[in-house]
């Protein structure tokens, strides 16, 4: 039994943190928030040069063949930096989908350029407002073409490839890979409250696409993919939550009111301790989550839901109360508190809401109990 990352993994974390401090300081996120771009392409290239997109891609497809421990470490650091990148779309979702469900040919075709970052891919699941479920999917895949509308799709406008959840004519769930640069694909940009990440609505009007068909795909395959992405996203949320807490603590130590640091008032210090408690529980649950992911444990569904719920709760609280601790300056455009606030809410809804994952969590608890 050993509940800590290895020395090498901890070194990777340090390296990743140093890299992002240099190349993705708050000014980078701010530039995307203030500008027209929906991501930072220079940063994307630099991250590609570090090999991060290649982390879990097998070596025969140009990847590094590392484990999900390494990917989780990178996710945490990207979360800390609130990086304006399509990393989660391309890596946690699209790349993972191809690795899990692609044919040999499909892997050989797409993974190498995903590993280098030359291809940005994304994942299209949601259609209408409210919970996405097997029955809510209306997009159709028939005779090699896609028909329907997906929204919101993260990073759709900068991606070349989208893995789309659709249904065949006989209502079987399909994961379809579709190149985005076709006349039969059109996109409308969608503004979200976190415009340091781009989103769009994608219309498929008979777009050429192919099924990921290395293994039979069902709705359970989609859920498995989401479970895996949920663990990695939890690490991203955790990184964000921790940096929000650190900022709040720093400010509370340095800002004076009534002749003493505001961090000496229990109203503030106990608020910060409460954030610490949530972050710590989220971290410990994320440890179990990444272990379950990396070891392909049967406990992954429960571990993922637990990590996800804990991470949502920690990151929303931390991002809200960081602003509150800062007082007036906290809700200005000029201060960085806003980055965490925007991104935390976005991440809490990508992949489905807290309620959705609470529900899944209990389903797996019931399953475990009845199995025991």
């Amino acid at each position: 039994m050993n509940f800590e990352f290895s020395e090498e993994q901890l070194m990777l974390r340090e390296q990743a943190r140093g890299f992002l401090q240099q190349h993705c300081p708050p000014a980078t996120t701010r530039a995307v928030l203030d500008g027209e771009q929906t991501y930072d392409d220079t940063l994307w290239q630099r991250v590609a040069d570090m090999g991060w997109m290649a982390t879990t891609i097998p070596e025969q497809y140009g990847g590094l063949g590392l484990s999900h421990y390494e990917l989780a470490i990178i996710a945490e650091e990207l979360g800390r930096a609130v990086a304006p990148l399509p990393f989660s779309s391309s890596v946690y979702l699209a790349t993972e989908a191809i690795i899990l469900y692609g044919t040999e040919d499909q892997k050989a075709r797409w993974l190498p350029s995903l590993a280098t970052g030359d291809t940005i891919a994304t994942f299209a699941l949601a259609e209408r407002p409210g919970q996405t479920s097997e029955s809510s999917i209306q997009t159709r895949y028939r005779e090699g073409t896609l028909h329907g509308q997906k929204q919101p799709v993260a990073d759709g406008q900068i991606a070349q490839l989208v893995i789309t959840v659709a249904k065949s004519i006989d209502d079987e769930v399909q994961l379809c890979a579709c190149e985005l640069h076709q006349d039969t694909v059109s996109q409308q940009p969608l503004r979200t409250l976190d415009f340091s990440r781009g989103h769009s609505a994608i219309d498929f009007t008979g777009a050429q696409a192919e099924r990921l068909s290395g293994t039979a795909v069902t709705w359970a395959s989609v859920e498995r993919l989401l479970d895996r992405a949920a663990v990695l996203t939890a690490w991203e949320q955790l990184g964000l939550a921790e940096v929000a807490l650190e900022q709040a603590c720093d400010y509370a130590k340095q800002r004076y009111a009534f002749g003493r640091p505001i961090g000496s008032f229990q109203a503030i210090k106990h608020k910060l301790a409460g954030m610490y408690v949530k972050n710590t529980l989220a971290r410990s649950n994320a440890y179990f989550g990444v272990w379950a992911l990396a070891s392909d444990s049967e406990q992954l569904p429960l571990a993922a839901a637990t990590a996800r719920v804990a991470a949502i709760q920690a990151s929303l609280t931390a991002s809200q109360e960081n602003i509150q601790t800062h007082g007036g300056v906290g809700f200005t455009w000029e201060y960085d508190c806003q980055f965490y606030y925007r991104r935390a809410k976005l991440l809490s809804l990508n992949l489905g809401s807290e309620r959705h994952w609470q529900n899944r969590l209990v389903a797996h608890l019931q399953h475990q109990t009845s199995a025991a």
Binding site: L125, A126, R128, P129, G130, Q131, T132, S133, S135, S136, Q151, P152, Q188, L190, R191, T192, L193, D194, H199, Q254, R255, Y256, A257, F258, G259, R260, P261, I262, F265, A267, I268, K271, L316, Q320, I323, Q324, G327, G328, G330, F331, T332, W333, E334, Y335, C337, Q338, Y341, K345, L346, S348, L349, N350, L351, G352, S353, E354, R355, H356, Q358
Partner: protein
């Protein structure tokens, strides 16, 4: 106890409703006008008919209405889409302060134009060094003949960019403890040396400003209260702020949550049938209804002649975090569509998203959640004060980090 109108109240309500129906602004009236211009137009129309600041004395442009009548008027006026926020600070908070602390001459000079909307006021209290610790402010006022010269910086000033006058608290003595060295003035916002810079908030709006004072000259006759009495004068304003701000104020609420939950699905059924959704909506309703009836009770107290007390802090203390929470919840109901916030593609008009982005400011402006909680603890429950590191200390000696 009766939550319905008495016959007299019903009569008053009818009269108000009738006037509103007869005099509402038409599209032709407002064509091409800004929100501020529309607000001024409407305010003047009300003033001319005796429906502005109806609780004020007739001498100052009001109609001497009772607290209940004010509420009835407010309820009836709320049925129309009229802009009102421009006058809240001036009429709700500063007007009563002028009445309490100024001369009859100045009341006659300032109150009617305040009531008619011809002159807009702002409140210049907060400073970078003094947020929650309001009395830590540093803006200096130094005597110069019959005038005072103001130097310093204010911040979080709502409406400074369209205000004609401001109520400003300044420090006139740094050698005494902080609450004792303050003095309040009325300042002309168009005077030379007043410089206004908007602050962009995280939601993209600019409701607040930084206001710089560089050798701004104010006549001594524009002083409210004695020199050194500024803290007491400010308290009059703050006491009225509690009533003016209140708990309501639009944005995401139970009605919106019900609307969304009736529209979107969970597992193929309307979300409103989901028990977890219902439990949350019920809890929000408990807060909203509790605040509403609490407001009614405060009003009955006012009607009996009681002053608005610190217990009114509860409206903002409950209302602002509730807004943040219910906005977040409404977005959760929309699942992956929750973060969408695009005026071009309205999904429940972006109210939830706008509220979520605006709520952090509400939890801070006008007294943070923590300050409001302290007020309740110390002034309602009469619990002992925190030890005050700066108590009795000359202002100039207080640690500032």
């Amino acid at each position: 106890m009766d939550f319905n109108d008495t016959p007299e109240e019903a009569l008053f309500r009818n009269k108000a409703a009738q006037w509103l129906a007869d005099n509402q602004l038409t599209d032709a009236d407002t064509q091409g006008l800004s929100r501020l211009q529309i607000a001024k137009l409407w305010q003047k129309r009300k003033y001319d008919a005796g429906w502005a600041c109806i609780g004020w004395d007739r001498a100052f442009g009001g109609r001497g209405a009772s607290a209940i009548e004010r509420v009835i008027w407010g309820q009836e006026e709320d049925r129309y889409n009229v802009p009102s926020r421009f006058f809240v600070i001036g009429q709700g908070m500063i007007g009563p302060t002028i009445m309490a602390w100024s001369t009859p001459e100045l009341c006659e000079r300032f109150l009617p134009t305040l009531a008619s909307g011809e002159e807009v006021w702002c409140q210049l209290f907060s400073e970078p060094a003094g947020g929650s610790d309001l009395a830590a402010l540093r803006t200096k006022a130094e005597p110069d003949g019959e005038d005072w010269i103001l130097n310093g910086q204010k911040v979080w000033t709502s409406g400074a960019h369209y205000a004609d006058f401001g109520l400003i608290v300044t420090r006139t003595d740094t050698r005494v403890p902080k609450h004792r060295g303050l003095t309040v003035f009325m300042v002309d916002m168009h005077a030379p040396g007043v410089d206004i810079k908007p602050i962009k908030q995280l939601n993209g709006d600019s409701d607040f400003n930084e206001v710089y004072f560089n050798d701004v000259r104010v006549p001594d006759s524009f002083r409210l209260g004695d020199v050194g009495q500024g803290w007491q004068v400010s308290l009059t304003t703050l006491m009225n702020e509690r009533l003016a701000i209140g708990g309501g104020g639009g944005g995401a609420d139970v009605t919106l949550a019900l609307d969304i939950a009736s529209t979107v699905d969970i597992d193929g059924r309307p979300a409103i049938e989901d028990s977890a959704v219902r439990a949350k909506i019920a809890n929000y309703h408990v807060l909203e209804a509790g605040l509403k009836y609490n407001g009614y009770r405060a009003l009955s107290a006012l009607s009996r002649g009681e002053l608005p007390g610190p217990e009114n802090s509860i409206g903002k203390l409950v209302g602002a975090p509730k807004l943040q929470s219910i906005a977040s919840f409404c977005m959760d109901l929309l699942e992956e569509h929750g973060p969408l916030w695009d005026d071009e593609q309205p999904l429940f008009n972006g109210v939830a998203q706008g509220s979520y982005m605006g709520a952090p400011g509400l939890r801070i402006a006008g007294g943070t959640d923590e300050i409001m909680t302290n007020i309740i603890a110390e002034r309602v429950l009469e619990l002992p004060q925190d030890p005050r590191a700066d108590k009795g200390m000359p202002f100039s000696d207080i640690p500032t980090g």
